[in-house]
């Protein structure tokens, strides 16, 4: 290479690595701010401060922000890569990688201590409640790949009949420990077998990690039946009615991946929902803090309830089945510990309760925010 080209080549490289910080600083000055880079001189050079500085530099980079979606789009269009946290399944189905990892990966070694041991946390919570005369029923919620493994990979067809989530071991441990635990895997398995015959709407959304409006309604019915059978709940006197409706919803996996071409490839999904109304007042279903039943859960309980279209989620449908309004605390991705922490600082919500229904999505058994910590109940 001639000297002239060496110069050009070196110049292009240097221009690239110089333009990014200089133009970033220029832009920040133009916006009336001190360039982020100078922040490194304003803090004690400790590990934590250096990491924060580095993260801020990356997050504020206009180039990274501008280029990232283009590259992600390119990778999706050329190689069908939806990004690190999403997996592209069959028939336009998308999966959340941690949902799949939970099923595939080795379980970490059994731990007898919190916050790694869900059985310990759940049995302790059950005991805490029982000391106050409150029943507990636990609902481990199957993740989408547990119910629709065949939509992730064709290979799962071969295992259709013996596909078993490791969560069923947890369910069995909890049942052995005397904690009332519902096995929704059986329910979904039999529903899917019927599904083949009836070709009804899927029980999970294709672009989302959550269940469909149809599944919400069915599972609410199944849970209500169990509660009534156990004698832990009585049918109330409030009459509810249901209004069927369709809405278009952009799945959380699409939103999370934030790949522009993914959004173009997958138009918003049509979801069939059933909004619950008070038959007498014609008002949409609303929680009542005075209810004898408290629901603790994650985004599976939030879906359609406080989200669009509202009052069409599991809570509203369970209330309809039991003919009584309920109390709920919902914490997205935080049903392992955070939701109990929220309960712990809100003593009003546990007052007068006879039953707690605790739902968490199965991947949180391993990946739940803050693990499975011991949390005291609120003072009486």
């Amino acid at each position: 290479m001639s000297r002239r080209f060496q110069l050009l080549f070196s110049g292009l490289f240097l221009a690239t690595i110089f333009i990014v910080p200089l133009s970033q600083a220029g832009l920040e000055i133009y916006q009336g701010q001190l360039p982020e880079f100078f922040d490194v001189f304003t803090r004690v050079p400790k590990r934590v401060n250096l990491r924060t500085f580095e993260t801020n530099i990356e997050n504020r980079s206009v180039y990274a922000t501008a280029v990232r979606p283009w590259i992600q789009s390119l990778l999706f269009m050329a190689l069908r890569d939806p990004g690190e946290k999403a997996l592209l399944g069959r028939d336009g189905w998308l999966f959340y990688t941690p949902d799949v990892r939970y099923l595939v990966e080795n379980k970490p070694a059994e731990s007898d201590t919190e916050p790694e041991n869900p059985v310990l946390a759940i049995t302790t919570f059950s005991r805490q409640l029982s000391q106050r005369g409150i029943h507990l029923i636990v609902l481990p919620m199957p993740g989408k790949p547990s119910v629709y493994p065949d939509e992730l990979t064709h290979r799962a067809h071969m295992h259709d009949h013996d596909f078993a989530s490791p969560t069923r071991e947890l369910i069995s441990s909890l049942q052995t420990a005397g904690v009332e635990t519902m096995d929704l895997y059986e329910t979904f398995l039999s529903l899917r077998q019927q599904h083949r015959l009836d070709a009804v709407e899927p029980y999970y959304l294709a672009q989302d990690t959550h269940w469909s409006g149809t599944a919400v309604r069915i599972i609410a019915h199944v849970v209500a039946r169990r509660l009534l059978d156990l004698g832990w709940a009585q049918t109330g006197s409030t009459e509810y009615t249901v209004n069927s409706m369709y809405l278009r919803r952009r799945g959380d996996i699409i939103r999370m991946a934030s790949v522009p071409s993914l959004t173009q490839t997958f138009p918003a999904e049509e979801v069939h929902c059933f909004q619950v109304f008070d038959k007498e007042t014609r008002n949409l279903y609303k929680d009542d803090a005075r209810s004898a039943i408290l629901l603790l859960g994650d985004s599976f309980f939030r879906m359609y309830e406080t989200d669009e279209p509202t009052s069409a989620g599991f809570i509203a449908h369970l209330a309809r089945e039991l003919r009584t309004p309920l109390t709920s605390i919902v914490n997205d991705g935080g049903a392992s510990t955070l939701v109990r922490q929220q309960l712990s600082r809100r003593s009003d919500l546990l007052r007068g309760k006879k039953l707690v229904i605790w739902e968490f999505v199965e991947r949180d058994i391993r990946f739940g925010t803050d693990g499975w910590k011991y949390v005291p109940l609120p003072r009486d």
Partner: protein
Amino acid sequence: MKQQGTDHEVTTLGTIEISARLLEIPEPFPPNDLYNYAYILKYHVIKVHRGNVDGSDIFVAQYNPLKPRSSARDEFSGKIGGSLEAFRVGDVHRMALEASVDDYWMGGIIDMYFKQAGIRYWAVWTNLESK
């Protein structure tokens, strides 16, 4: 002259307006991939400009704290925003608040201070007042 950290939103939104120093970030902020959390932060109140707050050290829920306030707003959060780029312990923020978070945010809340009583305020607008 316009005071550092003030703008139309911070002086008009919410029912409370304060200047407060961020005392600590108890644990690294969790990832914000599938869900966006509200994260409870502890502040020392320097001055109350509007409304009342409960004590000198208060707890404030900041939605999706990994993002600059100007881009933290999404379809679930309702109106939030501000000029603050990043949360750093020791910085003074000028904030418009609502009480309490339970009435304004129905999603995930990470509250490392859950054993401590007191209102959890909801940060509607957060500007950087001083470093």
